[in-house]
């Protein structure tokens, strides 16, 4: 207990010292951050509120649909947090240099474990804080929750994020102890493939046939939600948390407390199991993770992978060298590619879900809604992807930045290399995704073209934003990607990316809904509005993408190493 106290005391001192450093920051900068965060929450709240209000207003099924949204939100969130925690726990428990220092001291290993456990919880769930709060507040207002609900919200939030981390660490601890570092990679991929196949089977045999049954979107949604009843399984933790919140907003305090205690008791049990597992497995697992295989790899000029990478020889030599180095580092870093795999899985699930939306929806209102939801979702997935993978790229050069600092290579070239190479890949993936989903949704040719063009613009903006802010706020001391992303710069990137996506979607949605759905403007006004929307989108892309890029490489050029 004393060991744990000493570790947390040291951490609190570190936080205090870091907080003291904020006093030295320019007032303009801190004000800007505060305003940006507040704006983000307000905009997100507004969007969630409008979305939930829209569902709530649907006759007969509205309130049920809103509650179903809560079940889906917590069900998906719980899975996402477990997956995210799997990667974060592995990096936080076993790969950090601080662990080596701590385990060299006469400390109780369980104290070190729980110290890192709390850090894992924070790193894996920080995004939930940003998106979860406006969503839950919007839900509470729609459902006329009492003031007690808002007061109790932080308690729900803290409790909710612990169980996914505890579940993930119960998987990570034995894996690190008993699986070889390199074999673990194959087990992880194998598990992901099995899960993906299981999800695909569930979709093909249960959800897809249901989608064929009716052409009406309301009937489809009811059918769709019915088939997602697995997410409301009484033994599923996401269901308990959603039920606790739903019961609380409905004024049923006793039922709410009951679900809350079921979740809390399960969390306590998971923590107790972690306590036992950490005592037996943590230190041994850490020792096992040190025994990395030293199996030689093919020489740089041999092997299939190197032959494949030689396609980059069309680029200038230093650029090609950097690209190949980045690809090899990515492919050999468990933390990076496992997160990438999770993103691919999300994309897969998303596309599968789109496949179950009836293509025969002819109502222009629903058609427009689904098309714009698709464009928003694709852009949000891209935003998450760029924040997670592109923002840390400059920081991941880390303490090796001196190598590039000394090379006859400008930082402008380095930043542009990251921008162009990643930008091309993001552009290809996003266009592929948008084209495929538009075909599945049978989008009209005009909207097909506009959404693809807008996606291209968004891909450029989001890439520039993440690479630029990554260069503007690098953290060369950190090697854990999750920690880099959860830094100030990463959070700023996350917020600005979401605001940027919201601006682009709104700019495009206003003329289309005004003309095609609400019929409040003439064809001439529609064209003018569309032109203005394009101009606004270009301006927003330049501001979000190019401005941080220029600031970023200027900052790097001024940096000292």
């Amino acid at each position: 207990m004393n060991d744990a106290r000493a570790l947390f005391f040291a951490r609190i001192r570190i936080l205090k010292n870091s907080a003291a450093g904020i006093k030295n920051e320019p007032v303009l900068k801190t004000t800007f951050i505060a305003v940006l965060t507040a704006s983000f929450w307000i905009v997100s709240f507004f969007l969630f509120y409008r979305g939930l209000a829209f569902f709530h207003a649907i006759p007969a099924v509205g309130p049920v649909l809103v509650d179903e949204t809560m079940y889906i939100f917590f069900a998906v969130l719980f899975i996402m947090l477990v997956l995210s925690s799997l990667v974060v726990c592995h990096a936080t428990f076993f790969n950090a240099q601080e662990v080596e220092f701590l385990l060299s001291k006469p400390l109780d290993h369980r104290a070190v474990f729980f110290y890192r456990f709390i850090q894992s919880s924070i790193y894996s769930s920080w995004a939930f804080l940003f998106l979860g709060i406006p969503f839950l507040v919007a839900y509470a207002i729609i459902r006329n929750a009492s003031c007690w609900f808002y007061l109790a919200l932080p308690g729900w939030f803290i409790l909710f994020v612990i169980l996914p981390t505890a579940t993930a660490s119960l998987l990570v601890l034995p894996a690190a102890r008993f699986l070889d570092y390199r074999r673990a990679r194959h087990v992880f991929i194998g598990t992901a493939v099995v899960l993906a196949l299981a999800a695909f089977w569930y979709y093909r045999s249960v959800i897809a046939p249901a989608a064929q049954e009716g052409g009406d979107i309301t009937a489809f949604m009811e059918s769709f939600l019915y088939h997602l009843r697995i997410l409301k399984h009484p033994l599923y933790p996401g269901y308990w948390m959603a039920s606790s919140l739903i019961e609380a907003t409905g004024g049923r305090a006793l039922a709410s407390v009951r679900y809350f205690f079921v979740y809390a008791a399960t969390t306590a049990l998971a923590l107790q199991l972690n306590h036992i597992a950490a005592g037996r497995l943590y230190y041994r697992g850490w020792l096992a993770s040190r025994n990395r295989s030293s199996r030689p790899l093919p020489p740089p000029d041999a092997g299939a992978v190197n032959s494949l990478l030689s396609i980059f020889s069309v680029l200038p030599r230093p650029t090609a060298a950097l690209v190949i180095k980045d690809i090899k580092t990515f492919a050999r870093d468990f933390g990076q590619w496992s997160q990438f795999l999770i993103y691919l899985a999300i994309l897969g699930v998303y596309i599968l879900n789109l496949g179950s939306v009836p293509g025969s929806v002819n109502n222009p209102y629903w058609k427009m809604i689904v098309t714009f939801l698709n464009f928003s979702a694709t852009s949000l997935v891209l935003a998450g992807f760029t924040v997670r993978f592109l923002f840390p790229q400059i920081s991941l050069e880390g303490n090796k930045i001196w190598i590039l600092g000394l090379a006859p290579l400008s930082f402008r070239g380095l930043v542009l290399q990251k921008f162009f190479i990643n930008g091309i890949m993001i552009l290809l993936v996003s266009e592929l995704l948008m084209t495929a989903t538009n075909i599945m949704l049978e989008t009209s040719p005009g909207l097909f073209f506009v959404s693809c063009a807008m996606t291209a613009l968004t891909a450029v903006g989001l890439t520039g934003l993440s690479v630029g802010l990554g260069a503007l706020y690098p953290n060369f001391r950190e090697e854990n990607m999750s920690r880099i992303v959860s830094s100030f710069g990463g959070t700023l990137n996350f917020i600005t990316a979401l605001i940027y996506v919201a601006v682009i979607v709104l700019l495009l949605a206003v003329p289309y809904f005004s003309y095609h759905v609400h019929h409040t403007v003439t064809a001439g006004t529609f064209r003018t509005m569309l032109l203005a929307a394009w101009a606004g989108s270009l301006a927003a892309t330049a501001a979000a993408g190019l401005f941080p890029l220029v600031l970023g490489y200027r900052k790097l050029q001024r940096s000292e190493f």
Binding site: A321, T329, G398, E560
Partner: protein, 240 residues
């Protein structure tokens, strides 16, 4: 080859290097000595262009570092005290990466990579990931990568930390060979015996100031002592 004019570097209210002026000739082996925190690494980083001077100037091969950093850096290689490298590359991949970054002739850098790996007795480890290397092995890879571009100036900070006796001998021989062939070496070390053995000239830095400059004998003479360099160094840098 190196010309420092009233070079000053201030971090906050700490003057790490204070108005340092120094000239190092081409082909000279110059060693910087000094206690911990004296400003040795800061001086080396200023020469390498990894830090910007608060005042004064750095010129390498007649090129002003502030005006044309790219051209100045093309003449030099820097070997830091801590060998940070790309952990997920193999030793051989790291050397090839450096060769490509500097646009060196491919056949030349590949042959030189093999020669250096052979010389450092690391040929069998060349295709293993750098994350599996010991500190000394990483240091040898960084030294090898610095020598690949055949620089006119080698800046090396604490070269022998973590190296075994055989590797120390190899590094000493390599640096001496390069100096004899006209390469300038600017080295910082705490190992006084090494400095005494290998250097043409020494400079002792204390609290950011150059307090002694010359050959080993010149410094001993200036200190009016007949004892070894260690005693002279301790006396000169003693805190009052």
């Amino acid at each position: 080859m190196i010309e420092l004019q009233k070079l000053t570097k201030i971090f906050g209210d700490n003057t790490a290097v204070g108005s340092l002026s120094l000239t190092v000739a081409a082909g000279e082996f110059f060693t910087v000595l000094g206690p911990n925190g004296a400003g040795k690494t800061t001086t080396l980083k200023l020469v390498a262009g990894l830090l910007r001077p608060t005042a004064g100037s750095v010129s390498v091969g007649g090129i002003d570092m502030a005006e044309k950093p790219g051209r100045a850096k093309a003449l030099m290689s820097y070997i830091p005290d801590i060998p940070y490298v790309y952990e997920k590359l193999t030793g051989r991949e790291f050397l090839h990466f450096t060769g490509e970054l500097y646009r060196l002739d491919r056949s030349v850098y590949r042959a030189q990579s093999e020669e250096l790996l052979e010389r450092f007795l690391m040929r069998d480890d060349g295709d293993k990931l750098l994350e599996t290397y010991s500190h000394g092995m990483r240091q040898k890879i960084v030294i090898s990568s610095a020598l690949l571009s055949d620089p006119r100036l080698i800046i090396i900070d604490e070269p022998m930390v973590g190296l075994d006796p055989r590797s120390i001998r190899i590094v000493k021989d390599l640096l001496r060979e390069r100096a004899l062939s006209g390469t300038t070496v600017l080295m910082s070390t705490h190992t006084l015996a090494l400095a005494e053995e290998i250097s043409d000239r020494l400079g002792i830095i204390h609290r950011g100031k150059l307090i002694a400059l010359g050959g080993v004998d010149d410094i001993k003479q200036a200190a009016r002592r007949s004892e070894g360099l260690e005693d002279v160094f301790l006396r000169m840098t003693a805190e009052k």
